[in-house]
Structure formats: C-alpha cells, structure tokens
Amino acid sequence: MNITRRQFFRICAAGVGSGSIAALGFAPGSALAEVREFKLTRATETRNTCPYCSVSCGVLIYTLGDKAKNAHEAVIHIEGDPDHPVNRGTLCPKGAGLLDFVRSENRLLYPEYRAPGSREWKRISWDEAFSRIARLMKDDRDKNFIEKNADGQTVNRWLTTGFLASSAASNETGWLSVKFARSLGIVALDTQARI
C-alpha cells in the first residue's frame, strides 16, 4: 500500500504501535530501514512561514511536548510545507537551517541596559525597561515637539526621535507600530524596505 510519509505519521499518532503497522505492511517501503523517521511521530505540527526572503516558503514546525501546562515545548524539526503552492516542500540553505536560528546562542533572553560610558550590559526587568524608555521618550517629545513651523503653520511633528521598523515583523506588528509612531508625531520613520 503506497502511503505518504505524512499519512504514515498521522496513522502512528493515532496511537497504534508503529511496529505493528510496519508488520501489517501499511508502511512506506523505506520505513522499515529508517529508524530516524519516527522522531516526528508524536510531534505537534504547526504551519508557519520562513522569515528570511520574500518567496515566503511554507514551513512546518515540529514541536515536542503535549501542551500540558507544565510541559515545556521545544522545536525539534523544521521542514518545508509540501502543501505550499510556491515552494512545494522545498527549502533553500537558509530555510533549511531555521532550527539553528530559533535555537541560536545569540538569542536574547532578557531586557538589558547599557549605561553611558559603560563597557557592559546590565540585566533589567521589563517593568524597568518600559518605564525608563517611556520617560526618555516623553521628556524628548515634550521638549522638542514642533506644533507650528517657522511660518506659523500647524505641523505637529516630532523630529528628534526616530523609529526604524523591521521588515521581518508581521503585518500586525507593522500596523501597531504605525499607530504607535504616528500618534506620537514621529516622521523620522523608516524600514529596511528602503535599503
């Protein structure tokens, strides 16, 4: 019986012992020789999009963990989504390495602060980060906001703080960022799209 790899996982995930399935002959021919295939059997499959270039290949992210409250999930495998009309399951070298991005040693874990003249980072709390940043922004805006230009025209802009927006952030992030920046009167606003 010719079934696809994904169909095989679904059958296995239904709880029937994979060994008996193989024995009954309902496995793809390669399964008997490939022990490693089974690592995805109990994984949760989530559909996502590669964050790198603008082909926006569909990816499948496999995580372990049964979604119980105290079970900590972890991403164990990322591969191309065969259902996706553009990439049809393939990934380029960048996409193929996505697992190492998610698990990079360079991932930032907590808010940090570098004081003027300092040679190092200091860990701070989110509360402290948000409070201090809001304070700095408000002080700068209150002092430098331009309500009217030299000709007496109403312009309502704030030139002394800028915002550079990410091109790898979602549309939802982009929309919220626009609301944030423009309600403050920021016009020094730009994105990677420009360069």
Partner: protein, 809 residues
Amino acid sequence: MTNHWVDIKNADLILIMGGNAAEAHPCGFKWVTEAKAKRGAKLVVVDPRFTRSAAVADFYAPIRPGSDIAFLGGVINYLLSHDKIHHDYVKHYTNAPYLVREDFDFKDGLFSGYDAEKRTYNRDSWDYALGADGYVQVDETLQHPRCVYQLMKKHFERYTPDMVSRVCGTPKDDFLKICELIASTSTPDRVMTILYALGWTQHSKGSQIIRAMAMIQLLLGNMGRPGGGVNALRGHANVQGITDMNLVTDVMPGYLRLPADKEQEFKAFLEARALKPLRPNQMSYWQNFPKFWVSLAKAFYGNAATKENDFAYQWFPKIDKPYDVLHMFERMHNGQMNGLIVQGFNPLAAVSCVQKVQESLAKLKYLVVIDPLATETSEFWRDYGEYHEVDPAKIQTEVFRLPAACFAEDTGSFTNSGRWLQWHWKAVEPPGEAKSDTAIIAGIFTRLRELYRKEGGTFADPILNLSWAYAKADDPSPEELAREFSGKALADVVDPKDPTKVLAKAGEQLAGFAQLRDDGSTSCGNWLYCGAWPQAGNLMARRDNSDPSGLGFYLNWGFAWPANRRILYNRANADPAGKPWDPKRKTIAWDGTKWSGFDVPDMRPDAAPEENVGPFIMNPEGVGRLFALKGLAEGPFPEHYEPFETPLAANPFHPNNPQVVSNPAARIFKYDRERLGKADKFPYVGTTYRLTEHQHYWTKSVRLNSIVQPSQFVEIDEELAKEKGIRHGDTVKVVSNRGYIRAVAVVTKRLRPLMVDGRKIHTVGVPIHWGFVGVAQKGFLANRLTPFVGDANAQTPEFKAFLVNIEKA
C-alpha cells in the same frame, strides 16, 4: 511583483537582470526551471558576475555595475527602430499617443526646469498638453512630433548598440542577441517576465532603471498577462507587508501621502490626492482617496475623529522633507537627534558607510533595540578590536536591548513578494523573557499614555485618543490587529445605487475596499488589505491549494492584495474588444455582460469594452505611462548617469556637461560628498551582493549556515589577480575612501574585465554577510566601503557601484 511566483512558469522568456534569483530566491527560482522544462521558455541573464542564475541560463551577458539604464535604453531603441512592439497594446493601453506640453525639453543630459543650486527640477513642463475640454490631447496615428511615442523615439535614438557596448562593456553581439530574444515577445502570443532585485534598486538612479524596464514591458504588451509583468523579487519575509503598511517617513498605510506643511486645509489635501480622470470614462481609482484616508483616520482615532474636526486631520504630522534612513543618520550625525528605536533592523551593518552610522549612533542620548538576536547595532559601543575599534568610555548613549520573539514564536501574517498575505501560527513560546514585538510596542505605549494622563505634556491629544480597544491593552492579539487593518462598518454601509440594500451592517467586518466611505461610517487601517478578514473570517489563513486553471492562480490560498487579485492590471490581458490576446494564457475576458475568468478582474466588472476604460486603473488616464509626467525626480524618461563613484572621467553620453556625470537630482550631503573617492586612487568597481547560504547579517548567528559558508571572501578576476600578485586563497585588503575590509581572495572566471569607454574596468565582488557579532568567524562589515548617497526618489543607498582598491594584506 505585479504577477507572482508560480506565474513565472507561464513565461516564454525570462530576463533576470539586477538580481540573481537562483541564489537569492532558490525556492522561487523553481518556477523558472519549470517554465524552461514545461514550456521551453528561455532564460536570459545579464549580470556583472557569471552567477548561478547565469550558469543555467540559455544566454548570459556581462555588464558593468551602474550602467543598466544604458543597456535598457538600448533595448528600447532597438524595439522602436525595428518596430518590434505590440502595436495595439501600445496604442490603446499606454500614453504613447498623448501629446506633451510645448515647453518640455531635454538638452545636454538635463530636462527642462533644472535648478542647479538646489539640485532639483521644477516639473511643471513635464506634463500633457490639455485640450479645451480639460482632457489630454491625443494622436492615435502616433505621428505628431509632440506625442509621447515620437518624443520617446527621439530620446532613445542615442542609445545605439555601439553606445551600449561602450558604456556597459557588454560585447555588441551579445547585446544584440538579447535584444532579438526580447523583441520576440512583442507578438501577442509570446510573453516575457522580468525578475529583478537590488541589483537594480541600489543605485543613485535605481528608480529610473525600474522605469526603463516597465517601459519595455509596456511596449511589448507584457503587463497584466500571465507569464509577464514587472516582478521585484523582494528580500525579507515581510518587506512587502511593511512597505504596504508604509512605515516610511512621508506615507501612511496603503500608500496615502501625508500632508505637506502648506496643506493646512483638509478639503484641499483630499482634493490634491483624489486624482480625477484625465480621459473620459477612466476609473482613476485614486479619486477614492478620501474614503481610504477617512477610514484610516477612524481606525486611528475612532470616535475622536469626527466630521467636525476633519477626522482629526491636524493630529497627523505634516512633512516638510523626507526623513528617510539616510537623512535620519545625517541629522543624527549633526547632533539633531536624541533617540532612536530600532526594531528588527541592524543599521550599523545594513546601511552604507559604517563610519558615519557609528559616529551618528554615538551622538544619541538613547537607543532602544528590539530584536530576537544580538546585533552589531546593539553593541555599537563595544570594542571589538580591529573589526570595530571604539572607546566605550567616550560613548554616552544609553542603550536598551529588548528580547523579541521570532517567527516560530509568533502568530500573524506576512505578505510575500507576490502580494499574497499568508497567516502563520505560533509553534512555541519565546525563550527566556522574550516578548512578541506587539507586546513590546504596547508596553512602551501604555506607559507613555499613562505618563501623559498623569502629568499632561506637549500635545497629548493624539496619544490619549489613539484607539486602543484591545482585550489586553499591553498585549494586543494578532487577530484583533488584523481585523482592525482589514476594516469594519461603524454604521450600516448601503449600496449607493440602491440605499435599501445593506452591504455591511454596523459592527460587521467589511468585504472589501469598495465598501469604504468618506463620511466616517467605516474604519480601516489599510485599504489595500481591506477584505483580508471579512465577516466570513480570516482569508489569510486559507490553505486550499487547488488550481483549476493550471495557470497557478490559487485563489483560495491566503489572500492577495488588492481584493485577492493575483495578476495586477489583468484587463490588459485582453484586446480592446475584451478578447484575450492569448486564449491559452488568459486571466479574464469580457463575456458579453461582465468581466470574468480565472482571476479577480482588475476592472469595474460591468465596464463594457466600448466604454474604453483603461486597464491601468490607478492612473488618471487609465493607461500605462511611457512618459512618466512628474512622477520621478530626475525626469519623465530614464537617462544614463554614472554612479557617484565612477571609474570614468565623464558621462559618455554627455562628455561636456559636468553637471550630469551622475544623477543631477540625487541628494548628497556635504559630509558624504567630501568622502567620495576618485578613480586615480580607487581604480576598480566594487559591488556588494549576497550568497545563497546567508541572509544578510542575520545568519551569522545561525550555526548551520555559518558552517556551510564560514569565511569572509571577495571575488576578483584572474587578470586583476595576476596584475596584483594575488593568488586564490591569499588574504587581501579592499579599500574605499571610507574604510577597508580584510578577506580571503577568491580568484574566479565568474568575473572578467570589461572594455568600457576604451578602458579596461575590473569589478571586485564583495559578499556582505560578516560582522563582529555572531556564532562563527568574525569579519568586517562590508558597508565600511560603501558610499552614503541614495536614489533621487527612493533614497536607496548606492551599494552596487562604488570605487575600491585592492592589495595583498
């Protein structure tokens, strides 16, 4: 892209120029492979290097970096002189027959209206000649000396094959062969697609390069057709989405231009942007601008935006000049800026002239970096020895570094290069204390708002009234945000032709931008995205990959803007009578009562062909513009200008006019002009590019990618290597007038010297992916070399053509 990725398989000829799709977009490139395999399509590649795209091409030609307009102008000249154009298409769907004002002129490399001191043009003369009826004057025979067709012919007469070869270094026979191949798609049954990327945009005249390509596609009748179009292969997962949300200085979401200082009156502001039709019966879709703007204002300020206060018009900032990233750093450099928030961006690495960016950041009072990874920008104050020499004690900037979630830890939508909005789902929690970008922005905003509530302060109204009705104020959900930008009815929206018919009830999500109103009854964050989340639910999450036409439309996979149209301007795929030029590759056709077919019509569905409603519905004339009117800063026709750092002594097209060596309308700041290098000290052309295995400055934090492509290198041709005594594998130092890098030399046949204007020009290739923060070998930021000057319209820096020297290190 006017078309999309899968559609590439429908082409007969594929031109890859100003881009390297096989290496930069490998999975999208499969559609080029498919076109070759299934349709017998031919691939032509024009590139300074023999790239992997070139390696699988049917024909490859080299070109000097920075000379693309000469090449494309030569193609236009070829098409016009051999009359290889799609005649009916050009006559009916472009402004070729339109007459231009008498005072429009071009002389010695400059168009009429130039102000040398300000480096700008007064564009008044770049306009149509209007008749007494207010409409444009037209000559359908294309013979009138002032019609666009004749003016265009005259303009490109100078772009002869000999001239192209002289300026580009491309062998004349190669150039002519490519012209023949391109010209073969002028018949209705053959279509060419052009795939380009940053090789065309990262120049001081990049916008005009794109224009030249668009003109070629219009002349050949390739716009609005499956397998055709003008197809930008963009570079980030959501660069298209962020562009559409317009997180740029002078535009609001949906490409709505902010008011200029002098636009103090709301009514006049709307009128200036609501472009009325310039010919009878045209849709001139921008005339709906008021509906888009007012709905945006309601999305921003809700009930605080009323008819009485012009929908909070004065709360939106006005613009006196663009504050794009280059201008931002210039101001920072001059001590005029205090703070900078950098979200998922690494400007120290990614913007040109690292030295200037570094000095600028060091003058800030505060810097906030939001990113999943540690980046050079966040560590700009740290000393990394030779890779980044600074004295932290001298840098007073306070830096906050906030950990953000990455794609796997976030739910939301990305818009791909083909305008498809695709929803993705969160697979796992972010590590440590990292938060989603939205929670971080909301965290800062809610604190700010609280401070303004408690203390008051300067002009607090917009902040206190910004609509923020999320279930959790400090953590808006992606679903709430998506529904907000897709839009809803605030009061019942009725059919204008029959007011008893309710199209959307108050509170319901809208079906599309045709339901937007300018009276405050609708709210929509981005009119182009209207309908992505209608009452039925999240269309971006659809995953139906059925393709009944076989042409790859996939109408039920995700949601494409606008209105789920997969190919823009698709009415142009049919002749004036509404019959497709090529029945085997059709999008829509006129069926007697309406437009219908495999795609969503980009046309009023009941517009009968006799009404002559043009396919380019955003233009007031309804036709594509071969003459660009006042749209671009340096002229309505493209003209070749040299890069700001050119190996030549003059512009070969205008050797006697020093004003036009390089783009006369491009902005360059004094600091940067003083740092331009000259060919006597820097005789070689430097060009930057990316590699298959890496994504910019990102994947040096990714171990697998750093393993397969670990070490910084530059590429030089065999002749230059011999001249300099450099062997393959030697360490070399590449220097520009702004800085240097050290790297391994790859001596390759991929590059070769070109004969340009009688001189031998060598190109040095500089891949960009190294820096001083990562998990692999450290390297030098490539942008230590590049010049701080941008395109006259888009301000995209000129990363692709500058001057360097090279020596063994």
